[in-house]
Structures are given as structure tokens and as C-alpha cells.
């Protein structure tokens, strides 16, 4: 079943991707953090390396992931996400750490 998932990104990533506001990606299969980010990078290839390191694929250290108000940064990237995310009712959040200066 094709699912349409909404993704909220920091402003700088929206600028790089040339979009405004949240974006949607379509997934065929399990809706997980990994599948969302894979789809996001396929749809917006200029974002490769900006959320996950190019080589290691690891999350960049100043970024975290939230789903339905819960910090899922340190959970398995292959855990199924809540139905609210899978249905597109709630966005999947990529959040940048707050820093001054």
C-alpha cells in the first residue's frame, strides 16, 4: 500500500531543497525512520549528506527526530512509526539543535 508521509525540516534544509513548508514523500512498505529518510533523499537528492553522513549513513550529531511528540532519535531506525505518521496526519520531524550566535 502506498502511504503519503509528511516531513517537517529545518529552514536551511528547505532552502537547499527548494521547498517551502513541509514536504510529502510516498512510501511503499513499512513506514520507518529509515524508509522516510531514504525516500526524502531520493526525492530531494541535494539533501544527501545533510541529515545522515554520506559515508557512514549515521545521523548528523546536531539533528534529532520526533514522531507524535516523542523523541525517537535513539530508537532503531527500522522501528515502525505510529499510524498518525504513516497516514500523513502528523508530520515526521527533523529537528536541528538550538544554538546561539
Amino acid at each position: 500500500m502506498i502511504r503519503t508521509v509528511s516531513v517537517a525540516m529545518p529552514a536551511h534544509l528547505r532552502t537547499l531543497a527548494g521547498v517551502s513548508g513541509d514536504v510529502t514523500v510516498e512510501l511503499d512498505g513499512d513506514v520507518t525512520r529509515r524508509s522516510i529518510l531514504d525516500a526524502l533523499e531520493t526525492q530531494y537528492p541535494m539533501l544527501r549528506g545533510t541529515i545522515r553522513e554520506h559515508v557512514s549513513g549515521e545521523r548528523r550529531p546536531f539533528l534529532r527526530f520526533f514522531a507524535c511528540g516523542e523523541d525517537i532519535t535513539h530508537k532503531s531506525p527500522d522501528d515502525p512509526l505510529p499510524e498518525e505518521i504513516a497516514s500523513g496526519a502528523e508530520p515526521f520531524y527533523v529537528i536541528g539543535a538550538i544554538a546561539g550566535g
Binding site: P10, A11, H12, L13, L16, E41, P45, M46, L47, R48, G49, T50, I51, E53, H54, V55, R60, F62, L63, G96, A97, A99
Partner: protein
Amino acid sequence: MSNVRVLVGTRKGAFILTSDGKREKWDVSGPHFAGWEIYHLKGSPADPNRLYASQTSGWFGQVIQRSDDGGKTWFQPGTPAGETTTPDGMPKGESNKFVYDDSPETGKPLTTHQFYDGTAKPWVFKRVWHIEPSLDDPNTVYAGVEDAALFKSTNGGQTWAELPGLRGHGTGAQWQPGAGGMCLHSIILDGERIFVAISAAGAFRSDDSGATWKPINKGLHSQYIPDPNAEVGHCVHHIAKHPSNSNVLFMQKHWDVMRSDDAGDSWQEISGNLPTDFGFVIDVHTHEPETIYVVPIKSDGEHYPPDGKLRVYRSRSGGNEWEALTKGLPQEKCYVNVLRDAMAVDTLDSCGVYFGTTGGQVYASADSGDTWAPIVRDLPAVLSVEVQTLS
């Protein structure tokens, strides 16, 4: 009449300053890439409208930007503007991908360098500090990166490959970071010869277009390292060379201003009467190979001009005898720094000299440094300054 285009990288974006040959009235465009650190941007000598920029962020990593119209529009080279897929199916993030070559076939399985405490740390790519376009091919460009290595692109920045002979020549495991990180910050192209400098490893030379390398640090003396005369480990801040004078190099080291007359095989100190020989920038007059410029900074612990006076020092004798250039520069209560890539010279008959400060000022002199005036006063902290002379 010729024009000049000054390319300024700052902590919060890039700015492009343009003027005619008089260099009195300036147009300012920017910020480009607002909010991002722009460590360096530079134009191709072979095609002045081809610019490359290093856009970086502690959050989102490295982005390489390219302009083919002199900075009016920009795009990621692997991601042409307006296209969702490249015709050849290239993954578009490739232009931002810098992967160390540790393969036994082309590189060497060198995987660690020294950390500040002497322990071994793996090489991890962080950012591009310096971009150096080829002298004769707009699509060939070099990138000096942190952790220190030299990369090359031959397709206009779409993809990058390491020149692994530098890290793998034998001393790489002894390199260590300076306070700003272990960065390759200086690249000088001279035919088949390439010079680079790394903080804190030293200067290196290749005589075969980057295939093989050797350290060129004989004569450097650094009291802050265990062996002050070591083959590597010196904190070189910047090196410069006059285009027509292939064997003469000038260096601003952590402390000491140095010169070499044999392409780096040996160095002699030329600090002479400078008020302090700590500093970051050094550059050479376009038409006078023995006229050089530095901006003395008080000390390694106090990164601002001595006595609160911003002074460029010029030597017309290749070093040792220096004169302070102060006209138009603040001579009281000035506590800015001038970082290592933040000085440049144009090629007009009356040589223009430019530098940027951590206080956001970019100063220009249209008369070889005799007099100065600010082009802009309130930019974010300036990381780099380059200038193009346009016909």
C-alpha cells in the same frame, strides 16, 4: 576599463562586492547562502564567471556551490538548478561527498592521525576550507579539507576524488590538529608543482601534479612542539607565492614570518622589525615579487592587533624590513582578527590589496597599501577574501 569583483566568505553567508577600476564606489550583493558558514569562494582564472563556494554548517555538513554567471545564480554541481534528476542518473548529493581514499590500490590504508593529546584518531571529513580552481581549466578544481587532505574534481565539482599521495606519503600519522582543526588551508598551483599547507602539520610539495609529496619544513622552528625542528607538526597559517617567481614562497607561521628561495626546501625567518610575528594572512604584490604584506596579531593567546591598532605591514625588500600601513585603518580600540584566507590582491596596474576582519569590515587599498578605506563595515565575521580582476 577593468572591473574588480571581491568574493567574501563570512560566518553567515557570502557577499560579492564589485567596483570599476577606480575602486571607490562599490555594489554589494548578498548574503548568498544566508545563515551558512562560507569558508571560501573563488573564481576560475580560466573563466571568471565560474565561481566555486564552500558552504558548511555544523548541523548539515558540507555543500559545494557553483556559479556560471559570476555569482548571480548558484547551484550544486551535482544537482543542476531546476532538474530533479541528472541526465546520466548521477546521485545529486555526489558533489558534496568527500570520501578519503584508503584503498591499497590507489591510496594507502592510512586511517589515523594524532589528536591534541597524542592519541590516534581516525580521519573524519568535516568541511572544505579552501577551493583552488585550476589555472587553465574551469572544470578542474582542488579542495583542501578538514581533516587534512587534498581533493580534486575534473568535472566542475560534480564529483571529488582524493589525491591520496599526500596523506599517504609517510608522515600523515604524525599530523595533528591546530586549535581551528586539522585543516588543509593553502593550495598553490604552479604547473605540475603543487604546494599545500596544513595546520598543524606544515607545508608540502608535489612535483608531479599531486601524485607524490614530500614535507618542506626545513628551517621552521616551533618552540611549542616537542621537537622544535621536527619534519612535520608545525602550525603553518598561510603560504603565498608570486605567480612569476616559482621558487620563492612566503609563509606566515603560528609565530614567525618565513621565506624560501628554493621552493620550500629550506626556510629563513624574515620577521625583522615586525612588532609581533604572530598572524594569519600573508600575500604578495601582483607586480612586485619582493613586496609582501602581513597583518601582525598580538599573540596566540590574544588574537587582535597589538595596541588596538589595525596595521598592515609591508616589506618591499622581500622581508626583514617592514613599514606600517595605517592610513585609513583604525588606530585605536580595534580588536579584530584577520583570518588566514582573508587577504587578496588584484592585478590592476595600481595593485589593489583587500582584507577582511572578524569584525565584519572589508578594507580595500587601490594604491598597494598606502591608503585604505572600508568597502563594508558591518558584515558577519569574515572568513575569506578573494578578488577577481575582470576585463
